[in-house]
Amino acid sequence: MPTLLKMQEAMQASLLHRDSQTVSAMLAGHVPADRLDIYRNTFILTLTKTLRLCFPVTQKLVGEEFFAGAAQIFVGERPPRAAWLDLYGDEFPEFLRSFPPATSIAYLGDVAELEWAVNSALHAADVAPLEVVELGAIEAEDQARICFVPHPSVRLLRLDYPADVIWRAILASDDDALGKVDLGRGPRNVMVERRLTGVEVECLDQQAWSFLAKLCDGSSIEAALVDISEFDYVAALAEHLALGRFASFSLVPPPMAIDPGKII
C-alpha cells in the first residue's frame, strides 16, 4: 500500500512532468487519463493566469499563445515554492532571457523584470515610512553615519534596454512612442515604488540611482557618497524622505579609536 508521501510524489510527477504511470496505478480501478488531466490543466491554468496578471505587457509583446506556451514550460520547470502566489514569477524574467524562442526580442527579459518589480511594489508589505522628525535628534556631525532600511516597495533596476519606455508606451497603447524607442540608447537606471496614488516607475540619472541603490543596500550616507561627485545629495535625501522611501534608520558605529590598553 503506497504511503501518503509516495502518492503525493506520484501526483507531483503527473502534474509537473506528465508522468502519470505511478499515480495511475494507485487509483481505484481503471481511471481514464482525462480525469488526471483535469488536475494538470487546473495546475497549469491557475499559474498561467497568475503570470498573465503579473506580466501583461510581456504578454502583449509576444502574444497570448506564445505566452501560454512559455508559461506552461516555466510552471513545469519552476513551480511555486510557497502557497502565496504574490511571490510567484520572480524567476520568469530570467527564464525568458534564456528561453530560445524568445531571444529574438532582446528587450523582453528587461520588460519582464520591470513588470516583476512593479508587481512586487504593488504587493509589498504596508510599512509606515520613516518621518523626517525622527532624524531630528541626530547631531550634525553624526549624520554621515546614518544607514537606512528601505521601504519594502522600493525597487532599483539597471536595465540594458529602455524597457520603461516600452512598458509605458504599450500600457498607453501609444504606437507612436513605441515606434520612436531607441534600443541602442544605453542602460537605464530605474526606480519602482508604491506611493499612495499607485505604483510609480521613474528613470534616474546614474548618480542619483547609485546613491539610492547604495543606501538601500545598507551603506551609510558617507559610504554611499564614495565615488559620487558633484551631486546634491541633500536634495536627494530630502526627496527620498518626503516620499517615504525609507522605513527606519540606524547609526553605524564611529571609526574605532585605538585603545592599546584593550588589546590583549
Binding site: 501518503l4 503525493q8 507531483q12
Partner: protein, 293 residues
C-alpha cells in the same frame, strides 16, 4: 467616514454571504450592499497595498470570514510554518468571524501545486490531517472549519467513506465542518455516492458554514459525464434542493455563495444570496445555529 459599525471578530450570522473578489471591491465600497457577511481567500490579502485597504474599509460594515486555500492540511511532509504565520498575520489585521481550510493537499517536496488535490481516505491521511488541524488551531488559538473536497479521482487504498473521514476530523480535533453542498453534489455524481446520505452522515453540531457554487459538466473521452467544480455559474437546481435538505438537518447556518471564474456583476451574487436567505428563512428555527443569528 463613520466609525466602525462591526466590532472586532464579529460572529458570522446564520444568513447568506458572498465571496468577495477583487472585481467587486469598488462596487461593494460604493454601494454597501445588503448582505450579512462576506468571505475572502486568505492568500489574496497576505501582501500590503490596495487589496488590504479595500478590505479594511469593507469590514467596517460587514463581518468577514477568512477562507484559506494554501495550508495543505493533508501534506505528508507537514504544513509550512511560514504559511501558517502569514495566515495568522492576515487574521490579526482582518479580525475574521470564521476561519476555514480544506480537506486536501497541495504541497509536496516544498512545491506548491496550486490546486486542492484529493487525499486517499486512509487512516494515515486521517492522522496527518488531524495533526495539522490541531497544529493550526493551537497556533491560531481558535477553532477552524474544514471543507469537504470535490474530487475527480479516488484512490485504491481508500477505506474510509469521505463523510466518515469528515466527521472523524471534527470529532478528533474539535474543529468544525464547512459543508460544501456543491462539492458533495459534484463528488457524489463523479463517484456514484448518495449525496443525501452524505449530508445525513455529517454531525449537525459540527457544521458551522455551508458553501454553494456552480459547477459544470464535462464529457470524457469514454463518454462518461464528469462534474467539474469550476465556480463559474449560478448554483444548480439540484444543489439548491440538496441545500434545503442540508439546512433542514443542520439548521440555519452561515451560507456562502462562491463564484471564482467569469465572475458576474455583484448583483448576480446578491441575487443568489437573496435566494439562500429566503430558504434559510423557511428552515426550522429550533437549532442552535439559528439562535446565534
Amino acid at each position: 467616514m463613520p466609525g466602525p459599525n462591526v466590532s472586532a471578530a464579529d460572529p458570522i450570522p446564520a444568513r447568506a454571504g458572498i465571496g468577495l473578489r477583487f472585481q467587486h471591491h469598488q462596487a461593494v465600497l460604493d454601494t454597501v450592499p445588503d448582505v450579512a457577511w462576506m468571505e475572502v481567500h486568505t492568500e489574496n490579502y497576505m501582501g500590503g497595498g490596495t487589496p488590504l485597504r479595500y478590505l479594511d474599509a469593507i469590514r467596517r460594515n460587514t463581518p468577514i470570514s477568512l477562507h484559506g486555500v494554501g495550508l495543505s492540511l493533508g501534506s505528508a511532509e507537514g504544513i509550512d510554518p511560514a504559511h501558517l504565520e502569514r495566515i495568522q498575520k492576515v487574521a490579526e489585521r482582518v479580525e475574521p468571524g470564521l476561519m476555514s481550510e480544506h480537506i486536501a493537499w497541495n504541497v509536496v517536496d516544498g512545491t506548491y501545486l496550486a490546486d486542492l488535490l484529493p487525499l486517499p481516505m486512509t487512516e494515515e491521511a486521517l492522522e496527518v490531517v488531524c495533526r495539522h488541524v490541531d497544529q493550526t488551531q493551537s497556533y491560531l488559538k481558535r477553532r477552524i472549519l474544514v471543507e469537504n473536497p470535490s474530487t475527480y479521482i479516488a484512490f485504491g487504498n481508500s477505506i474510509i467513506p469521505e463523510w466518515e473521514f469528515m466527521a472523524a476530523v471534527a470529532a478528533r480535533t474539535g474543529c468544525g465542518i464547512l459543508c460544501d453542498v456543491n462539492n458533495i453534489c459534484v463528488s457524489a455524481h463523479n463517484h456514484g455516492w448518495d449525496a443525501l446520505a452524505y449530508i445525513a452522515a455529517l454531525p449537525p453540531e459540527a457544521v458551522g458554514e455551508i458553501h454553494l457554487a456552480g459547477h459544470s459538466v464535462k464529457t470524457l473521452a469514454d463518454g462518461t459525464l464528469l462534474r467539474i467544480d469550476d465556480h463559474g455559474s449560478r448554483v444548480s437546481d439540484e444543489v439548491w434542493s440538496l441545500y434545503r435538505q442540508a439546512i433542514a438537518r443542520f439548521g440555519a447556518v452561515p451560507t456562502l455563495i462562491e463564484w471564482d471564474n467569469e465572475v458576474p456583476p455583484l448583483e448576480v451574487l446578491l441575487d443568489e444570496a437573496f435566494h439562500a436567505d429566503h430558504l434559510i428563512g423557511k428552515s426550522p428555527k429550533d437549532s442552535a445555529h439559528a439562535d446565534a443569528a
